[in-house]
Symmetry: C2
Subunit: 346 residues, 2 copies
DNA sequence: TGCATCAATGTAACCGATTACATTGTTTTT
DNA sequence: AAAAACAATGTAATCGGTTACATTGATGCA
């Protein structure tokens, strides 16, 4: 009773006096089956409440129609937007997702990779954890020819496509903008330089300084985990500097916000005393006062692109091998937190 | 070459001169197999890189070990936290998730339900969209004895367990707190009264008014979609009121924040002119100035509880039928936005 | 009329597990 | 010593599709 038996192609075949092969072909709209037969079969399937059994197909085809997704965290605005993009494409194409979060921990990332491997995903979409040092845990996929695409937090692997933005350029623009506002002592808040996004943003920052004849000072680079809490702690360190910096460029908005709040409490006026820029265009950037200047980049689209190029590859439509990197556009959004010139702080 | 053949229990059995039945039993640690044989089998499986094939099992067992999850949106802090909780339990128990978002649209919710049904999920976890009027699209699950659990945005269905907080109590506490601060003209921002959460929060609001001999005024209830943008628009409406209200209680933090920002720009002092309370304890509530008083409730735990009770039911451990509602604890967090008495607005 | 061609359908092996039931060999009981 | 009980393992059917290859009957063409 708890298992009312399912209708199968055998049941349909029996009722219509045709073979299961014909039913199977009809259901996938194979042109070799006559229109008349197809219609009979479709109608009966509908009537009897037939449900396709993916497992039988997967078992036979040796595919799972499943994509593994590993992200650092689910509960960030950016990541959940990316996932929404992935989901829409995958759903449309009949793929199922297994989503897992590493919580920024290499160990969990390794464990997740193993789980996904054992679940026989057809392909992988990965954004790396903060502290992942090496990526040999993905070799098992490469060896089995399971395509792997990195997005946002990527790793330069010869076999893998990456979907990301030009982080260096974004950081360059943000820093240049701060310089254009008259800032010279610019602190950069970022995470450990293991991930491309932080390496590149740092490089963009340095490049902007160099191009404007501002000497780079190691002391102005503060490394933390970019949480809001870490921003608070960074603020304390910043207040110890002498002279005080005149701008802060944080590698994400959360950290910028934590830092700003604390500095404001300490009596620093923003942007007059210190200008601020972040990265990501998190919704919080329009809540903080003054609103935060930041780099906007398209999470939803990044998810769509990643999923689409993976699935194209799986379907053999479009060889991934030709495109090794997909760059999406990013843009500087200037808000009050960095506008020293006309300081209408809202 | 793109498909290096997989190792199966047949390969293991052949190499060790035992039957596949023994291998199958050994791999699931069946006590009927001798320790010695088990060890041989485990070792060889490891050595040959054997991977368990879920599809063969699922086909045979007529289960999918898959749980369907439908949420209104993925990119809210609360929901992604809930999903993280669901994911941790499901992962642990060997279940896979299919996650889909309705984008607050009943049509998409219906489509998702159909997809999940056709994917033969073993069970469902659902949080309803804003505009879902009736839930007959879930009848197909009930009919097939597929357990269905609602969380947060629930529906009172005799066959389904619900996991949620006492929204009425939360709203009652928030409103009572505002009253205790001396407020009498309290606006309530909420969504259409189709979802329990908004009905109950409104009821709690009314109850608090009644218990303090404050007449309820229909005009003070503003209905919108609770986005930040909607909060902005609500602020405009509020500014037209005469006399101005002296407090705002919003049914979520986002909307509260949008409203606060706009009112502040219009010169309203918070909390002196208007006190504020929200709902959810979204991270944004500690970014807005003054920090937002709100109701905190445990998203991660809600996810864990929902998943655990679904899986227990699937495993026959613990009949869901006995518990029809699981209530989680919520708490009022008082912050500067509502503290009129000692108005140290930070 | 006879043969090639083709459209439509059928046959049966296969994918890799699970498990009821059968079989074997060993130990215990009487 | 024979029977009963039991531990360990084996046999074979089953889950529901896919698809290479085979078959059937109709049509085209010389």
């Amino acid at each position: 009773m708890s298992k009312p038996k399912e209708v199968t192609i055998y049941d349909l075949a029996r009722k219509l006096n045709v073979s299961i092969a014909t039913v199977s072909r009809a259901l996938k709209d194979d042109p070799v089956v006559s229109k008349k037969t197809k219609k009979k079969i479709f109608d009966l399937a509908e009537e009897m409440g037939y449900r396709y059994n993916h497992f039988a197909r997967n078992l036979r085809e040796q595919r799972t129609y499943t994509i593994g997704v590993i992200v650092p965290r689910l509960n960030s605005y950016f990541m959940s937007t990316v996932i929404a993009g992935i989901e829409s494409v995958a759903n449309n194409e009949g793929y199922t997702l297994i989503i897992s979060q590493s919580s920024e921990d290499a160990g969990k990332e390794i464990a997740s990779a193993k789980t996904m491997f054992n679940n026989r995903v057809d392909g992988m979409l990965v954004s790396l954890a903060y502290d992942t040092e090496e990526i040999s845990h993905f070799d098992q996929f490469i060896k089995k020819n399971i395509p792997l695409i990195f997005f946002d937090r990527v790793s330069d692997h010869p076999e893998c496509t990456s979907v990301l933005i030009d982080n260096r350029k974004g950081a360059y623009e943000a820093t240049s903008h701060l310089i254009a506002q008259g800032c010279r002592r610019i602190v950069h808040l970022t995470a450990t330089p293991k991930r491309n996004v932080y390496i590149d943003r740092l490089a963009g920052y340095k490049q902007a300084l160099a191009d404007h004849q501002i000497p780079f000072d190691e002391k102005y680079v503060l490394i933390n985990n970019l949480s809001q809490e870490a921003g608070t702690q960074a603020a304390a360190a910043i207040l110890q500097m002498n002279p005080l910096p005149d701008a802060i460029f944080a590698a994400n908005d959360n950290c910028a916000v934590g830092c700003m709040l604390t500095l404001k409490k300490a009596g620093i006026r923003i942007p007059q005393d210190m200008a601020f820029a972040g990265f990501n265009n998190d919704p919080v950037s329009t809540v903080i006062e003054p609103n935060l200047t930041t780099i906007n980049y398209p999470g939803y689209k990044m998810g769509e692109m990643s999923a689409a190029s993976l699935i194209n590859h799986l379907n053999g439509v479009n060889s991934i091998d030709t495109t090794n990197t997909i760059l999406l556009r990013s843009e500087l959004i200037i808000r009050a937190s960095s506008l020293k010139t006309k300081s209408d702080s809202e």
